[in-house]
Symmetry: C2
């Protein structure tokens, strides 16, 4: 199987958290062609954070897309040029006040290859200690909640945890721990 | 924790696969407010399809956002008013030519509550048989590949499978099977 060829990629608009472009794309033998959406966000990082009592540190916050309150792993955007692990350490400390000396990569995924370009990196932080400094973005309001791994599994099954990338990150950790 | 209040929601544009709106949102005590992006897609469905020889049926296709070829579970958009299970059966048959009489829900997730509104439903189809009729969308080119569950696990670890929702769907299935 061969890639399609893209041409005439052009920016349509820049929103707050993404850039929207269109691109003309033609199949390898030229029998199919069309205009496709491309949505570019910064890369993202998700952090499965475990404290010294084996509690999973989660963040509770209002989410504007869903118009509801969610319980998620600490997460955020990787700044341009920033190392993913650096972003993970920064986001965990900013959102939760926790820091860790025991970091491990749980891999990465492409958020949605159909029309999005970005990558989500997943990290595990063990033995987290509340010795950092919380520092919210100007439009963030976050509460920290800690749960046993058994309770996390219940919340995955009940739908109390529902953000796809939080869900994925926690399943990656459960698979590692099994 | 209380929800923020949204007002002045307005459509900015309709792209091919999403609608982009902005909304003004204020925190419960009114000390924070801003304009936020809302991206609305149709709901999606992902299908973990297992054939009568315990092979996992995957689809290989060029993806325009990533500009590369991916290996994914069968998946697609749920038409407005369509039942998610109906969409799952339809997408599996259209993309792979396989049908099944043994369907099971693996739950659903919110794709990205931060700025997206939609839900992704995950289904498991067992004992799939190649007795349906493939019917690609006009701009789809798909090849079917079948893998043992052991090989799927290798591909999750190696990054050969990289779409976040495919990854999540397969981890949900592995957790169920464990």
């Amino acid at each position: 199987m061969k890639k399609w060829s893209q041409s005439n990629r052009k920016e349509v608009l820049r929103a707050h958290v993404f850039k929207y472009e269109t691109v003309d794309s033609s199949s390898p033998n030229g029998d199919k062609s069309g205009v496709f959406d491309i949505v570019t966000c910064l890369d993202w990082v998700n952090i499965v954070a475990i404290d010294e009592d084996d509690q999973v540190i989660m963040v509770k916050q209002y989410r504007h897309g869903l118009d509801d309150i969610t319980i998620e792993t600490a997460a955020g955007a990787i700044e341009i040029g920033e190392d993913p692990l650096h972003a993970a350490k920064r986001e965990l400390e900013e959102e939760t006040g926790y820091i860790s000396n025991e970091w491990e990569s749980l891999g990465s995924v492409k958020v949605n290859p159909a029309f999005m370009t970005n990558t989500c990196y997943v990290f595990l932080a063990r033995q987290c200690r509340p010795e950092g400094k919380q520092c919210f973005d100007p439009l963030e309001e976050i509460e920290i909640e800690k749960y046993s791994l058994e309770r996390i599994e219940e919340m995955l099954d009940s739908g109390e945890i529902e953000h796809s990338l939080t869900y994925l990150s926690l399943l990656k950790y459960l698979r590692l721990s099994a």
